[in-house]
């Protein structure tokens, strides 16, 4: 069978080796195919490789260029999704571009520290004029001031005080501003009023002048007309002249007043400018503008008046000239014709020829004179014109210069106003920027302070806690020590008491134990006696009573004694259930056994046919051994003869030594042994039981002696 297994194993091995060799062939075939179709396979690989290279090159180039050019990077990121992740991986985050929308977010966190900024400003009360802005922050700042109380140093004033001061300063400033504004307004309004008044006065003056000159012209033109109208005309002329004078005076007064007011307003504006209140600036600027406008208007109107006046002057001059010429003519006429009255139109009938001739001659002479004058005038025309032109030029120049100067002044003032406005704007911007910077600085300062304070707080806390814990631990230790002492004392007392109690208890217990032991020993003794008695109940051939009850009694009497337990356990089961035979019974039985054993002395494993049985029987009849032989102290091999053994055994039995007899019977061999087998068992059981009972008796006696108290 082993060979078969080996053969099977060899076959399996051969099969596996065959299988292993099989796949090599297909791979070789594949390689063969591969080599045969080499070009197509390699070219596919080449194509794939080339494609991978191109893609990789493209990606790498993009990444490289993006690392140089941020805009390209941004555009690529916008165009290709998830490319920003790739760029971030390869190049790091995108470069920082100044983001405008960040400012409002920065304004947010600064709002909290605007309190600090404000309070910082309060420490420099006079310098900055951002107070106007703190008006809005003041109410919120009051709340925050309370929050930040714990953080502030001792040197600062309390936030409420600061707030109050700020509010007060605000109020003052507001008052000042409002006062200033009010004064400006008042000044401006009065100025405007007076200026308007002046303007109207000037206008009326112009009108009056124009009217007067008009009337004068009319009067002069219509001087040849009838005389009735003349006085009325002269009267209207006089009235007109009066009006004109009045109007001009009024205009002049109004102008003076307006100029005064303007000067006042200018002074007020200058004062306001000097006071440097930011809130008043717009007012100032507006006032200046108004002032400027008023000045311009006033100047225009004054110019108008002056023009009207010059015209009027011309007309008046003309009128004077005409009047003087007429008077001269009248005088001449008078000189020539003294009796002619001025109203010479009605005198045409009264005039004589001489008068007429003298008149005509005079007229001719006058005409000649006039012609001469005219010729002279014509000759000097050019010169007159030139001088007049030059004069005019000079005047014009002067006027022009005056106008230019005025215009320059005006322009200058305008430009100054504009500049001031621009300066104001720039200043505002600058101030706001400075405010933000200051706010930032203040915020940084607050943060730093906060951190430092926090650290300090923690340090102090740690220190104090340490102190506290030290003190506590000291106290605790003290307390523990005291309690421990008390406890120790108490324990000692308790221990001593306990020990005494224990001693007492032990003594009592030992007494009780001793008594108990004595009782138990008695019990045991009694039960063992019962067992012994039970052993004696064998009668005749019947065995004893079953020893079970007696054994149970023994067990009950000393249940926790290992010795007795072992012994009672060692009792053979048969003795418990059935009882044992007595020695006498066994002795009687021995004889039958002996006889039988003698008869089959020759039968053993080798000789056991019927013939041998016969022979053995014959032998038993023919062998004469003494019935009882004293057994020697040592057995020799030839003592192991059946007959001898049986003689020894019967001797022992006769002398009451069942044990030795059993030993001798145990030496029987063959059929004799089989015959004596049961007897031997019974003898053994009896012997065992007897032995155990004897031991138990001895033990009980010993225990009894041990527990007996010697008095």
């Amino acid at each position: 069978m082993l060979r078969a297994c080996h053969r099977a194993g060899v076959a399996a091995a051969a099969q596996s080796s065959r299988c292993r060799r099989a796949p090599l062939r297909p791979s070789r075939l594949c390689r063969g195919y591969a080599s045969s179709s080499g070009e197509s396979g390699v070219s596919v690989g080449k194509i794939i490789g080339a494609g991978v290279l191109v893609v990789g090159g493209g990606v790498g180039g993009t990444v490289l260029y993006a690392s140089y050019d941020a805009q390209f990077r941004e555009s690529v990121e916008k165009a290709v999704p998830y490319s920003d992740k790739l760029f971030e991986l390869a190049l790091g985050p995108a470069p920082y571009t100044v983001p405008m929308p960040k400012k409002p977010t920065q304004q947010g966190p600064l709002k909290i520290s605007s309190v600090a900024e404000v309070m910082k400003e309060s420490r420099m009360p006079a310098s900055k004029s951002q107070m106007s802005k703190t008006e809005a922050v003041a109410p919120s700042e009051e709340k925050e001031g309370k929050e930040h109380e714990g953080f502030r140093a001792i040197k600062e004033r309390s936030p409420e005080e600061v707030a109050a001061r700020l509010a007060q300063q605000d109020k003052e400033e507001q008052e000042k501003v409002s006062a200033l504004a009010a004064t400006l307004e008042a000044a401006l309004s009065s100025t405007t009023r007076t200026t308007l008044q002046a303007i109207t006065a000037q206008e009326s003056a112009v009108q009056a002048v124009n009217a007067h000159s008009q009337i004068l012209k009319e009067a002069m033109d219509s001087s040849e007309d009838a005389g009735e109208k003349k006085p009325s005309q002269w009267r209207t002329l006089e009235e007109a002249l009066k009006d004109r004078r009045r109007a001009v005076d009024e205009a002049a007064d109004a102008l003076l007043k307006a100029k005064e007011e303007l000067e006042k307003t200018k002074g007020v504006i200058e004062n306001a400018k000097k006071s440097q209140l930011a809130g008043a600036k717009p007012h100032i600027v507006a006032a200046e503008e108004n002032l400027h406008h008023l000045i311009v208007d006033l100047d225009n109107v004054v110019k108008k008046v002056q023009a009207a006046q010059t015209e009027a002057k011309i007309v008046a001059q003309y009128h004077e000239l005409v009047a003087t010429a007429r008077e001269e003519f009248q005088r001449e006429l008078d000189s020539i014709t003294p009796d002619v009255k001025p109203g010479w139109k009605g005198l045409t009938g009264q005039l004589s020829t001489d008068d007429l001739n003298s008149l005509i001659a005079h007229a001719h002479r006058r005409i000649d004179q006039l012609n001469k004058e005219l010729a002279e005038q014509r000759v000097r025309e050019q010169q007159h014109i030139e001088t007049a032109l030059e004069k005019q030029k000079l005047e014009d120049k002067k006027a022009f210069e005056a106008a230019v100067a005025k215009a320059l002044e005006r322009h200058k003032s305008e430009i100054e106003l504009e500049q001031e406005k621009k300066v104001e704007e720039v200043r505002e911007v600058m101030e706001s920027e400075m405010r933000t910077q200051l706010r930032r600085q203040a915020a940084a300062h607050t943060d730093h302070l906060r951190d430092v304070l926090k650290i300090q707080e923690q340090e102090l806390k740690v220190e104090f806690e340490q102190n506290l814990s030290e003190k506590l631990s000291e106290q605790e230790m003290e307390f523990r020590r005291l309690t421990q002492e008390q406890l120790d004392n108490f324990t000692m007392d308790i221990n001593t008491a306990y020990a005494r109690l224990k001693g007492i208890e032990q003594a009592v217990e030992s007494h009780a134990e001793a008594e108990e032991e004595a009782r138990k020993a008695h019990q045991l003794w009694l039960s063992v006696e019962a067992l012994k008695y039970c052993m004696k109940t064998a009668s005749g051939d019947s065995p004893t009573e079953p020893l079970e009850s007696a054994v149970k009694a023994i067990k009950a009497s000393c249940s926790n004694n290992a010795f007795t337990d072992t012994l009672t356990a060692a009792l053979p089961q048969e003795s418990l259930t059935r009882g044992v035979y007595s020695e006498e019974a066994l002795r009687a039985r021995f004889y039958t056994v002996q006889k039988l054993a003698k008869r089959v002395a020759m039968i053993d494993e080798t000789r056991n046919s019927l013939y041998q049985y016969f022979l053995s029987y014959l032998q038993s009849l023919l062998v004469f051994h003494p019935q009882q032989l004293k057994p020697p102290t040592e057995l020799s091999p030839d003592d192991l003869d059946t007959f001898k053994l049986l003689s020894y055994a019967s001797y022992c039995i006769e002398h009451g030594d069942l044990e030795l007899a059993a030993k001798f019977v145990n030496q029987l061999r063959g059929e004799s042994r089989r015959v004596a087998h049961d007897w031997l068992n019974e003898a053994r059981m009896t012997l065992e039981t007897k032995q155990i009972v004897d031991i138990l008796t001895a033990y009980a006696s010993a225990v009894g002696i041990g527990t007996t108290q010697v008095q």
Partner: protein, 75 residues
């Protein structure tokens, strides 16, 4: 049940058995001799001898029975 009585019992069985077998053999011998063998004596002797022999064999086997070893042939 006692071991010393064993032999006695065995002897009893043996004798009973031999008596039965002898008788049976004898009877069969007679029968055979009467029926088949024309009243010869040898079948009777044969039969009784056979019966006795069987009885002897049984008896011997019974007495040998404690010493017989039964073995198994283990391949």
């Amino acid at each position: 049940m006692a071991s010393e009585g064993e032999l006695g019992r065995k002897w009893d069985r043996c004798l009973a058995d031999s008596a039965v077998k002898l008788g049976a053999g004898f009877g069969l011998g007679i029968v055979f001799s009467v029926i088949f063998f024309k009243r010869r004596t040898w079948p009777i002797a044969f039969g009784s001898g056979m019966g006795l022999g069987m009885a002897y064999s049984n008896c011997q086997h019974d007495f040998q029975s404690p010493y017989l070893l039964h073995g198994k042939f283990v391949k």
